[in-house]
């Protein structure tokens, strides 16, 4: 069994509890032991980074240090915002000009630690083939849009995973569940990020474009791996509709929920009822009439 330190981050304790729940269930199903980082704290996210890089690195670094003390050398986080901060902390520790300040503040070095996203864990450690074999309830006949958001694979030299411009890991994972993942041109376009509260119209405009493109491609749902993207696209979908004078009704499940569904885990356990836009369309069993759907798609 692979042992991985788990940094869930503040979102997964609040508005994204279903991401936490489904992540744990899917990891358990594939024999990955998640070791929750003891007494973890917020990584500081963009606010810390825009105040002082050392504040950001020290806040995030404390978590890496605790994970190291717990005997883990891989830290997994489902949140791309946290991922960026944790990787930034690692870089600070390895930078000779900043190392002393970091170690003084955090209490130890974090050399040799590796931080990865849930997406990377599922793609590299589990892999699409293993998922395909474990599928009990194929999602065949469903068209699911893979949306990565801006931070999962960028900046490339920090993320060190997949392609920064045209990532494919999420596409492959969706396909492993039996569903169809169309080539999505807005894979890495920004959804409006943290401006949901302060500049709501930005989210209306940017997330509106993403919803529009997804529906043009015949998507029934947008699959995400970021709690911020999920909140903008799902929780704010009514606001977006109001802003863009549209009538989108696209559920936005997490990749862990989609994989969980295909493994036969109950929708309730995966927290599908927590999504704002009802994901009931995903529960329709179309495995039998896949051919008909293919014909419809032309």
């Amino acid at each position: 069994m692979k042992r991985v330190a788990y940094y869930k981050g503040c979102s997964l304790e609040g508005l994204a509890t279903e991401y936490d729940r489904s992540t744990r269930l899917v990891c358990e199903a594939f024999g990955i032991e998640l070791v929750e980082i003891h007494d973890w704290n917020c990584c500081g996210s963009s606010p810390a980074h825009s105040y002082d890089p050392l504040l950001s690195s020290a806040l995030a670094g404390r978590n890496l240090a605790i994970a190291a003390d717990q005997g883990c050398d891989v830290v997994m986080t489902p949140c791309p915002g946290c991922l960026k901060s944790l990787k930034g902390a690692q870089e600070t520790c390895e930078d000779p000009s900043k190392r002393k300040a970091f170690v003084d503040l955090v209490g130890r070095d974090v050399d040799g630690m590796k931080t990865i996203s849930l997406l990377q864990l599922l793609y590299e450690e589990v892999g699409p083939e293993a998922i395909k074999k474990a599928v009990k309830r194929p999602l065949s006949g469903h068209v699911l849009i893979p949306y990565y958001g801006c931070l999962l694979t960028r900046p490339a030299d920090r993320a060190k995973f997949d392609d920064p411009e045209n990532p494919i890991s999420l596409d492959r994972l969706i396909e492993a569940t039996g569903a169809t993942a169309p080539d999505f041109p807005f894979k890495t376009e920004c959804c409006g990020a943290t401006y949901g509260v302060t500049r709501n119209e930005f989210v209306g405009r940017l997330s509106g474009r993403i919803l529009d493109m997804a529906s043009q491609l015949g998507g029934e749902a947008i699959v995400v791996a970021c709690p911020l993207c999920q909140q903008n696209l799902d929780m704010r979908q009514d606001q977006i509709n109001k802003f863009a004078k549209r009538d989108f009704h696209l559920p936005v499940p997490y990749i862990s929920q989609v994989i969980g569904l295909s493994l036969g885990i109950s929708p309730k356990k995966l927290g599908l009822d927590k999504l704002c836009v009802s994901p009931d369309v995903l529960l329709e069993d179309r495995a039998g009439d896949e051919k008909r759907v293919q014909e419809q798609a032309g």
Binding site: A101, P164, E189, C190, A193, T194, L206
Partner: protein, 205 residues
Amino acid sequence: MERNNILSVQQSRDSDFIREVEEASGQNVSKCYQCGNCMASCVYTFAYDYPVTQIMRLIQLGQRDTVLSSRSIWLCANCQACTTRCPNNIDVAQVMEALRIMTRQADTVSQPDIQAFYDEFLRSVKTFGRVFETGLLPVYNMRVKKPFTDFDLAPRLLKKGKITFFPALVKNRKKIAEIFEVTKRECFSKAGKARPEPLSSKTDT
């Protein structure tokens, strides 16, 4: 905000500025040859006063005041599109980040409400060790005097059981407070002057 007068560029040139930005960001801004890839990639250009390509040029021209009072710096979401596409491998998003920090030091933050949101976020981290989402929004709303921001979301989130009423507390909050204290002190010495408190109420609009 007044647009930069191109004829007065020479008079308003501050040759220390480019060095300061390069030092703070760790990027070689001089390498920018104005291809415009960053601007073309940026989804926020519609809201900017100076597109990011022009910000880069204005830094090269030492236009400190124009750059540090620009709206663009605080509307950049740090989405990394510019950094990903720069043919000279300049981490443009990092340059924007360094500028944001410099505006805090120079006290010329152009979007005080966004800064207020960030500050309230940090206050939440400083107080609890984690961000308390339910508490953050009303405090921010009061501070910027827009009490009903996102009020429309509340009924649904309540129904979905997504609103938590108590913050999750980190046990070792002493350590968190220490991190805030020490980094504040470090910044003081770096800026060479008293730095505005991150959590002051000065930015109330």
